[in-house]
Structures are given as C-alpha cells and as structure tokens.
C-alpha cells in the first residue's frame, strides 16, 4: 500500500486546519468563556421607544436588589465626559442617553451586579419616564421639510440630512445618456439585514486599579484600531491598554465598530476596580449593533441598440439610523459603492449619494463586504438583467458583449478605480459550461410553452477588496496598512504574529502556509498568533477581505526579508559567496552543486550559534505592508429556479459558482469561504430582513422573526474556478471571504426575474418571499 506523504503546507495544499483541534474538542476560548476572579456582570436597560425624550430615570428599585453593585446612567457618564463617543464615520453616538432616545433598543442605563441573572432582574426594575416623540423610519420621510429633527443635539444640524457624496463624471455621463439609443431604469431597495454571527458581541473589561493597566477582552475584528480609539475616547494611556480578541464565533462586519456596552463596561471596571463582563443576548445584537445595507438605489443604464453599455447613472439614498456609524474609509461617504460599473467597460458613470438619519439602530457595517460593494454589485447585475429583458438579449450574451476584456487590464474605471487583473469571459464560460446553460435555456423554453416558470439567473460580479493603499484609505485617520512579525527559533520552528484577526477564516493555517511557501518551514512548525495588542504588531484588522491582500502580503514580505538574511548565513555555513547561493523550498545550496546544501532549520540554528562575523544574531523581522493598490476578485454565479404559480414559492434547483480570487493558498479553505458566503447571499436574497413598523419597532429582533438559512433550505453548490493572479500582490492572491455574499444575491434574484420577466415583472425587492412573488404574479394575472 502506498504511503501518502503528508503535505508540507505549501501554497495550493489543502492541509487540514490547525485551529480545528481545539474547536472540535470544545476547547476554543470565546469571549463568554472568560471568567475572571471577582468578575461582575453587566446588563443594559434599553429603550422601548424609537424616539422619546427622557424626563426622568429612577434607579432606586434597581439599586436595592441584593447583589447590585452599581447602576450607571448617562448622567454619571457625562460627569466623566463619556456620555458620547465618536463613530467610525466621524459622527458621534450616545453611549448612554442623556437627552432623548433615538432608536428602539438604545442603551439607557446599565446595571453591574455579582450575578448575570441579578443584573438582568435589576435592569428590568429601572423606571424611565418618557415623553414619546413621533418616529421617523424611512430616509424619504426623514428628509421631508418639517420632519422631526433626530439629531437636535448637534450644533448646526437643522434637518436629518447627513452627507452628499458624488463620484464619477456628471457631464460626461449626461453626454453618454444624450447619445444613447435606450435607457434602462431600475429602482430597487436593498433592505436592512444583520450579519448575525452565531456568537454575539461582548467584552470583559479588567482594569487593575493599582497599576492602571486595562486588559479588555473583546469580540473585536480590529483590536489594534480599537485600542487606539479607546485611548482617545477614554483618555487612557495607550501603553496601558491591552486588547485581547480571543476566538471569535464569526464576525462578518458585526464586530468592527465599538459599541456603547464596551465603553460602559470599561468605565464600570475602572470605577469599581473589578472585572466586568457584558455579553449581548441575541435580541440586543439584532436591535442595536451594526446592521447592514438599507440602501435605496435608483439606476439608469444608457445603451446602444446593439446592447453596448455607454453610461451609468446612480442615485442613492442611505438610511443610516440615528447615528452615522458606518464602518468605512473616511474619504468615502458611501463606502466603495462607486465600483458600481462592475465587470463592464462603461465609459461614463456618475454616482450621487445622500444619507439620512432615521429613528433606527445605527451601524451600516459592511456585512461580509468591502464597504458597500455588495449594494453596488447587486444594482449593476440587476440592471444588466433588466437590460437583457428589455432588449430581448440573452443575459449571458449582453454581459459578454460588455465585459472589460483581459487585455484591458490594468483597467481604469469611470469612477476612478484601477482594476488589477481579470478574465471575465473565461470565468463566465467555465460557469456556463458547468451548468449546461444552453440545454437549460431549451428546457426553459419548453416549460414556458406549458406555462411553467423556470428561471436562470446570471451574475458576473467584480469586487474591490484589500484596502489600503494607506494614502487613500484610512479609518479614523489610521492608514489601512497591515503587518506581520516572524520569528524563527533555533530549532527552526517559527512564530508568526499578525495585525489581522481571524473570526473563523482559518488564519492559523493559511498564513502559516505563506511562510511555508516562502521559507520552507512546514506549516505545522509555524504558530500563528493574532488578536493580542501587546504581542502582535499594529494592524487595522480583518474585514473587507483585507487579511490575505494586506496581512498575507506582509507575511510573504517578512518571510522574504528573513530569507535574505538566511541566505547570508547559508553562504557562511557553505563557505561560498552569497551571490552563488540559491534557495528552493527550504534548502539553500551552492549554484551548480545541489548536493551541498543547508536546510532552513540548519540556518535557523546557526542564526543563534554560528554567525558570520559582524552579523546581528537571530532570525526575525517585522513588515508593515501598505498595498500599492486594492485587489479585484471576480466570478460568475448561475442559479436555476423553479417557481410555483400557486404559492409563489421559489425553489433553487441548482447553483454554480465560479470564483477567481487569484492564487488560492488553501483551496479547501477557499471553497469553505465561498460556501458560507453563498449561503449568506441566499439568506439575504430570500429570508434575512430587518424591518420596522411605523412607530419604529424593530421587526426582526430574534431568530423567530429574522430568518437565517438552515441546512434544510440551503441549496447545494457546484463550484468552479479560474485563477488570474493579482499582479501586485506578492503571492498573487486577492482575498475571497466576501465574494460570494457580494455576488450571489443578484444571481438569485435575477433567476426569479428571468423566470417572470416575460410576464412583465421586472423587479421584486429582496427578500424575495413567496408572498411577494405570488402578489407580483397575481398582478399580471399569472398566479394560480
């Protein structure tokens, strides 16, 4: 029997994940697993109203409950100048209310107690006298003259308008439209949804009153940035703050912002002198922490009679909730939405965006998405679908006709992006072949004759991920570089420390593989550490698919730095000139005589025991990597659906996903990322909805109302790939964690529209539920 050689973990090896060993044994260490001696527990009293002035707060009954240590109100925080905090978009957000509540579920007061049950009991006993104000729950109403002013505390704020932002060339776009043969329009609403990682957000704040050292265990996707913000907000010396982000049970953007609960728990630990734990329950997570989307989009596409896209015009209205707290680079008010020309060569484009305050939870996080790329991808792909219907063209053909061609890269888009690389026609062809597209079109035609509804949805997305470059992209002023520190010990085993932070993506395995590829140390011998600000180099964190593009690049570069030093040591050991030393997968040898060689392990030992004269000891280094450009992953997704005319039920029969994320470090992990993203895209397209009634009550505050896909309804996915390396990334990788959530919602919805477009139905907004489909069919007399 042949013995399989275990994989060393080079790039392209689907080695099994190192982190799994603790997770499958129940030995992960998540935030809520942390229990410190003397630890107290915090519970939050939240507003039942969306908009109400606080007349008084009575905390007497709460304070009297045995076990209650303190009740914290906005008034108390105000004494310490902590009642308000800055948001990631340069706005302010109330930590605890001092004047009026601005969304249902807003943090009003906190109870600190010896037991979590007692804390909750007491929080329920806090009495608040409210004067209820009219709530504004849509951005359209918020911007009407005379609408109730939500941010009346902000100096100079006289209405609910937050920002106006434009990208592209208006004059050139107007000209393109004036010359167009046809204009296709689509008004669509990308509704509010919530990332809902399975683990909610939380903190254990432990401030040592003797030393002033603050250890904050936090569910943080960006511990270093959070430390700096804590230093600025709370006025704590940064060297005394240590943020530890332990194992994270999924993030998807939800764990990027700083939430009021973190601030209050930290302040409470500082004032009381004991550790304080706060962990959200699911309702708190859904009603108060970072939601996503809530974008009203109006798109127009100018086309020639032949189906060539000449121009694109988009107007956006975003519902930002009560505080403008989008997590995004500061220069871009609507994130990177202006990637909206997508995979197509469109000469002129113009985007206008406005944001409005409403009496809804703040957030606007990029839910498994690089700052509004999801909304952009959805709009362009839905517009192309509708253009195909209007022009009676095949949706694949109209795309092929308009794709940016492989020889056009690097491609400068009409809104200012420089796409690094791509081969869109190839990815589409692989997808069409895998699906058997032409055969299915024939089947569809046959079914249509019989009155049966079947649709084939196409979406060919292009993302922009991996921010920086730091010059253009920063969060709260912090440039979006990232870092890697690598130390090779005398026995040839290494520790890699990163500024990014996994939430399940498998960094402990895949980043070790980059070291394996570059230095030849087996992945099993490379320990990856993240998430502890005292022990990892500064970085901006993991979101917007930036870990591999930025942190991965830093890892490759620091490995190469060490390789250069190792080469010098190898030359010394081999008594040869450095110029004659070659390196191949962990071995240094003299050119022309490969038998005379030293392994990286030999060299590592020598770095501590037998150095050339004058050389510094050790084999370690750190790299801060500022990417020259972002990366542009892409792909084509195809979905086949059958629709029941009697119920409106949409059954996803097949889904083919062809992704090109450049070089794949660990194909198994990449496919896993895509599976998960497709499932979230499926959920967003068909199920996941956070909405509000007219009074601002959140409808979607638990998993009974906010539906997430289970194994039962989730489709089976068929995967395909093409590989177009990024020309500027050291190992050619582009990032993949979010592609599928970005690209798939349009594929699902386009499949539905493809099934019913011939009946005159050209739009159904997400989530595409049975009742909405049936109603649309009924309106055109096609329901049964």
């Amino acid at each position: 029997m042949a013995v399989e050689t275990p994989l060393k973990g080079n790039i392209g090896d689907s080695i099994r994940r190192k982190e799994d060993d603790r997770f499958i044994r129940g030995r992960g260490n998540y935030l809520d697993d942390i229990m410190l001696p003397g630890m107290l527990h915090m519970a939050i009293h939240r507003s039942p109203f969306a908009h109400a002035r606080i007349k008084s707060i009575n905390t007497e009954a709460a304070s009297a409950v045995p076990g209650v240590i303190a009740v914290v109100t906005g008034a108390l925080l105000a004494q310490h100048k902590l009642a308000w905090m800055p948001t990631l978009s340069g706005d302010t957000q109330a930590v605890l209310v001092t004047d009026k509540v601005r969304f249902q579920g807003q943090e009003v007061a906190c109870v600190i107690a010896t037991d979590p049950y007692v804390a909750r009991d007491a929080a329920a006993l806090i009495e608040v006298d409210y004067e209820v104000l009219p709530a504004v729950v849509s951005p359209q109403n918020a911007l009407k003259p005379g609408a109730p002013l939500i941010r009346d505390e902000k100096e100079g704020q006289t209405n609910n308008h937050i920002y106006h932002w434009e990208a592209g060339d208006k004059a050139k776009t107007d000209e393109a439209f004036s010359k167009a043969d046809r204009v296709v329009k689509l008004d669509t609403f990308y509704p509010r949804c919530h990332p809902s990682p399975l683990e909610t957000c939380g903190i254990v704040a432990d401030i040592n009153s003797a030393t002033g050292h603050a250890t904050l265990y936090m569910t943080s996707q960006a511990p270093h940035a959070h430390r700096t913000l804590f230093a600025i907000v709370a006025g704590l010396p940064e060297q005394n703050i240590r943020i530890i982000s332990p194992d994270i049970g999924g993030g998807f953007g939800n764990k990027v912002p700083i939430y009021p609960g973190y601030v209050v728990a930290t302040a409470a630990s500082l004032l009381i002198g004991k550790p304080v734990k706060w962990v959200e329950d699911r309702s708190e997570n859904l009603i108060s922490t970072g939601f996503a989307r809530d974008f009203h989009m109006s798109g127009e596409m100018a086309l020639s009679n032949e189906g060539r896209m000449l121009g694109l015009r988009v107007k956006l209205l975003s519902d930002n909730g009560a505080f403008y707290a989008d997590a995004q680079p500061t220069k871009f008010k609507a994130g990177l939405f202006h990637i909206v020309t997508g995979s197509y060569d469109v000469a002129a484009a113009h985007v206008e965006a406005d944001g409005a305050y409403t009496n809804k939870a703040p957030g606007g996080v990029a839910y498994r998405c690089s700052f509004r790329v999801t909304e952009a991808s959805y709009l362009i792909e839905r517009l192309v679908e509708n253009a195909a219907i209007e022009m009676k063209m095949d949706p694949a053909d109209i795309r092929l006709k308009n794709f940016i061609q492989p020889d056009q890269f690097p491609y400068k888009s009409a809104t200012g992006f420089e796409y690094d690389s791509g081969n869109y026609p190839k990815a589409m062809q692989v997808a069409l072949d895998k699906l058997g597209y032409q055969e299915l079109r024939k089947e569809q035609a046959e079914k249509r004759k019989k009155g049966e509804l079947m649709g084939i949805g196409v979406a060919s997305f292009t993302e922009v991920v991996g921010a920086g470059p730091g010059k253009q992209y920063d969060i709260a002023g912090l440039r979006m570089f990232d870092s890697a520190e690598l130390r090779v010990h005398p026995t040839g085993k290494a520790i890699l420390k990163l500024g990014v932070k996994s939430q399940g993506q498998g960094h402990e395995t895949t980043f070790a593989q980059i070291v394996t590829e570059e230095l030849g140390i087996p992945a099993a011998d490379v320990e990856v550490q993240e998430g502890d600000t005292d022990n990892t180099p500064y970085g901006l964190g993991t979101y917007a698919s930036r870990s591999t593009p930025v942190g991965g690049a830093a890892t490759a570069m620091v490995s190469r730095k060490l390789r250069e030093k190792a080469k010098k040591i190898a030359a010394h050991l081999l008594e040869a000139s450095e110029a004659d030393i070659e390196f191949d997968h962990g071995k240094f040898f003299v050119r022309g005589s490969p038998s005379k060689s030293k392994t990286i392990q030999d060299v590592a030992f020598a770095a501590y025991t037998n150095l050339p004269d004058g050389m510094e000891a050790g084999l370690e280094g750190v790299t801060y990597y500022d990417p020259p450009n972002m990366t542009y992953p892409f792909g084509t997704y195809l979905v086949v659906v059958d629709i029941d005319r009697g119920t409106g039920q949409v059954k996803v029969r097949r889904m083919v996903a062809v992704d090109d994320c450049g070089v794949r470090i660990n194909p198994m992990v990449v496919e896993g990322q895509i599976h998960g993203g497709l499932t979230e895209g499926f959920g967003i397209a068909f199920m996941q909805l956070i909405t509000f009634d007219e009074e601002g009550n959140c409808l979607g505050s638990n998993f009974t109302d906010y539906l997430l896909p289970t194994a039962w309804e989730t489709p089976r996915f068929e995967m395909g790939e093409t590989v177009t390396p990024s020309p500027h990334h050291p190992i050619g990788a582009k990032g993949v964690g979010e592609s599928a959530t970005v690209g798939s919602p349009a594929a699902f919805v386009n499949a539905v529209i493809d099934a019913v477009g011939h009946l005159g139905i050209t739009n159904i907004d997400m989530p595409v539920t049975s009742d909405k489909v049936w109603e649309a069919l009924n309106k055109v007399g096609a329901a049964e």
Binding site: F23, P116, L198, E199, H675, A711
Partner: protein, 170 residues
C-alpha cells in the same frame, strides 16, 4: 431558594445547589465550567447550546438545570475521552465542517444522535436532522459531508472490537 440537584455530566455525578430558574446551559458553563457548550440565540433556534440528555439532543438554553436532575448529560468535552477523537470530530476536521467553531459542538452532538438512530442516513436525513442547528460560516455543504463520512467510519468501526468502546463513549 436553592434546589439540590444531581446530574451525571459526561459520566461524572455532579451535585449542586441551584436556583430553580437556572438554565441547564448556565449550569454547565458557569457552575461546571464546561464552556464547550455555547449560547447563540436564547430562543431555541440556533442549536449552539445542544447537549445530549439521556442520549437525546436538547437545547440546553431552553431546559432548566432542575429538569436535568437525575439524568445523564453529555457535552462536547466527553467526545474525545481517552484522547482519541470520536469519528464525528475527526470527520468535521477532515471534511472542513467548521470555520469559527461556535456551532460545532452542537452540530456534532446532534449528528451523533442522528447516527445512532440512523447509521446510514441520506443527505436529506442529515439536513433535516441538523435543521435546528444554525451555522453562519460553512453553508452546511461540508458539515453534511462530515456526517456522511462519520457514518461510514462508525459503520466500519462497528465491525471491529475497538468499535464497542467508541460507541460506548458516544
């Protein structure tokens, strides 16, 4: 106030004074420090807190600790007793059936109960059995693969003497 309960957790008898309202999941996590059982939703939807009570998967966030008095409870910590992974654990790793790991203990315990009832489940059987356990990372594809693979392993193992030990453990 307190009720004295005795619960056999992972084969060991545990006696404690608990408040009648204490949830089983908190009893396991806070009192016994068995933190492999997670809390994801509070409303019995997500299944992160699934444990086996007398061999049946139960969402421990919706059961009181006092209701477990006198019963046998199995948590994820018991699966690799003696240091050898249970076939379901090995399969979850081998098939990449987990990412963040938060749903994994519940998924594995539900799967074990399924495989005891149906040693040779179809894909639909697996998906239906796991439909009370939510995973936000994997899209379930590889979880289903893992359960299928564990089924094969457990059947093969059942034909060997060591099998008895593995089966007894679960």
């Amino acid at each position: 106030m307190g009720h004295s309960i005795t619960v056999t957790v992972n084969g060991e008898k545990k006696t404690a004074e608990v408040e009648p309202r204490l949830l089983l999941v908190h009893f396991l996590r806070e009192k016994l420090r068995l933190t492999g059982t997670h809390i994801g939703c509070d409303t019995t939807h997500c299944g992160a807190c699934t444990v086996l009570v007398e061999g049946t998967p139960v969402k421990s966030c919706t059961m009181l600790a006092v209701q477990a008095d006198g019963q046998q409870v199995t948590t994820v910590e018991a699966l690799a007793a003696g240091g050898t992974l249970h076939p379901i654990q090995a399969a979850f790793k081998q098939e990449h059936g987990l990412q963040c790991g938060f749903c994994t203990p519940g998924m594995m315990l539900t799967s074990i109960a399924l495989l005891q009832e149906k040693p040779d489940p179809t894909e639909d059987d697996i998906r239906w059995a796991l439909s009370g356990n939510i995973c936000r990372c994997t899209g379930y594809m590889n979880i289903v693969k893992a359960v299928k693979s564990a089924a094969v392993q457990m059947k093969t193992a059942a034909a060997t003497p060591e099998a008895a030990t593995a089966a007894a453990r679960s």
